[in-house]
Point group: C2
Chain length 344, copies 2
């Protein structure tokens, strides 16, 4: 197996910096759009054969160093009883958002094997199809991010309903996050048991909080997921965006690899998280829409920021946008591999 | 005059921490909504008598330590020829966005006195009405933020059109920002000549960029505005959001006060900008929607982070939301004043 990704996560020397991309399977790829013509996002997630097929599309096309199972961070909200739908253009909508302590108590108990076993099955199918070519990453949403969708009932700009609940009913908030944390841990353990080689927690919106609120309202629950996972000895990537002011806090909550977005120089971000962890990132995904010389310049800057020590996984700082040209992504993979393999 | 605000901006000792709020005049106030029933946002901005009235509403109601002239950061886009409208609910829309070098060259020359003189008039009216009670802040949008509206044609999530232009046509980008910087400087000098006691640059969305892109693509133009203003000896507040990873770069671009959002602990943010400047911030505005004990706790944390050295202006990290209870804002002003005046 090409184990660059796993070696970098463990901060071992590599022949070239491993590279994969957040949302590397998605609408920017014609192969993916072809499948979406016949199947909804949720159908693909729930059909392991299709999910595995989509998982492998970027491996075949881009030559990246890791696959990530095709799924969605909101899948656990359906068995919780929130009523999950994806409406074209508008993104996720939840029929029954959580707005009170009573709503938290009404959430159903999730039987991970029965309710979310299809994700484990997708992992098994994808592992078979990969045939050991590259490692496979499992994932779940982080507690703040999943809770925010559950509370807002969809996407949000200012997280008003979420923050109202956490400020007004901190007990209900902690009960909710405690439940989500237990569910998420079980869900990720199931994914590891199914063969995932690493896992990533997408606490994508956690940067909406002040560091102080993060430490008291989220970090204990993130820790309850991350610590038991790390004890299994697998790479655990802890990812958020807009986190430049709370990187140390994210790191303290756990994870063996910290995901950085582009809003911080990678070198400064690594300094902030400190020794003892790897970092993943942190190209601005919009750079992929620019001309090649600018893209190469931006990618080289990331590699230079990371040079001189092991433990860097090249990635974008947030998901690849639908309007991204596939060729730019493929050229970038080749560039990162060649540029990082050059003796300095 | 109550000069707490000006003294804090100059890092001089104060009897209590000065406090004012971004968007302290706005929809959350019944007095403002009453005026909006009869006048559009642009009408208020263009009618000095109305603009002055709205400017004073929070002074009368909240007892804040500074007024800020009622205007909009997008006002200069109209005389530039971009066609500015505000549509209810959707925010600003520009009929003729800038997408190319040719579009940049088609922008009209703005005669600040003739085209934007009404803002100077609003300042003169507001100064008269204030009668020396508190200082008055003038303001303008920062070069990245104004350019992004001009290019996107309105609000945006991912700044794709903006970044496409700056990556693909860096020369057109620099020409555009150079023009905006000259216009902004002249506009702010006019506001100072009209009697503004301080100015703030709202480069609100600059945190969408990587620090590296900020340094090369924006900082020189921000500097071209901020340096000549600072030479006039007035406080110049340099504000952005999502800037925790580029605070040092913002400070290097200029400003005698750096605005912080809540995504960084104020103490850590102050450390990042270094000695020699004051800081403004950084309460999460959504905390104003929570119960009083939580709001007081959050405000006290900001004050504690700032304690032990002069040069803190208390503020929210981004504008007050329309659903904010006015009483919470008023209680917060009193709390900040009393809490910061207590001997430690």
């Amino acid at each position: 197996m090409n184990d660059r990704f796993l070696r970098a996560c463990r901060r071992e020397p590599v022949d070239a910096t491993p590279v994969w991309f957040l949302r590397q399977a998605g609408r920017y790829m014609a192969e993916y759009r072809a499948i979406r013509q016949h199947h909804s996002l949720l159908e693909i997630c729930r059909t392991p054969r299709l999910a595995a097929e989509v998982t492998l599309q970027p491996i075949d096309r881009l030559d990246v160093d890791a696959a990530i199972v095709f799924a969605d961070i909101l899948l656990p909200l359906e068995p919780l009883g929130a009523g999950l739908e994806f409406t074209p253009g508008d993104g996720p909508t939840l029929a029954r958002p959580v707005r009170s302590a009573a709503d938290v108590d009404r959430l159903r108990d999730v039987d991970v094997a029965a309710d979310l076993g299809f994700v484990g099955e997708s992992i098994r199918e994808a592992k078979r199809a990969l045939g050991g070519r590259v490692p496979l990453i499992g994932f779940a949403g982080g507690p703040f991010t999943v809770a925010s969708y559950l509370i807002e009932g969809g996407s949000t700009r200012n997280f008003v309903a979420t923050k109202r609940l956490l400020y007004s009913e901190p007990e209900a908030w902690h009960r909710l996050l405690g439940r989500l944390a237990r569910l998420t841990l079980e869900y990720l353990e199931m994914q590891l048991d199914a063969g995932a080689d690493a896992v990533q927690i997408f606490d994508s919106w956690v940067g909406a909080l002040s560091p102080r609120d993060y430490r008291t309202l989220v970090a204990p629950h993130a820790r309850a997921i991350l610590e038991p996972l790390a004890r299994r000895g697998v790479p655990v990537i802890h990812f958020g965006t807009q986190t430049a002011g709370m990187l140390r806090d994210l790191r303290d909550a756990g994870g063996t690899v910290i995901g950085l977005d582009w809003r911080v120089d990678l070198a400064r971000g690594w300094e902030a998280v400190g020794e003892g962890v790897a970092v993943q990132g942190n190209l601005d995904p919009v750079a992929l829409l620019g001309p090649w010389p600018e893209l190469a310049r931006a990618a080289r800057a990331v590699l230079e920021d990371a040079s001189g020590r092991p433990g860097h996984v090249f990635n974008v700082g947030h998901g690849i946008l639908p309007e991204t040209p596939v060729d730019a992504v493929r050229d970038l993979v080749r560039f990162v591999r060649e540029e990082s393999a050059r003796p300095r």
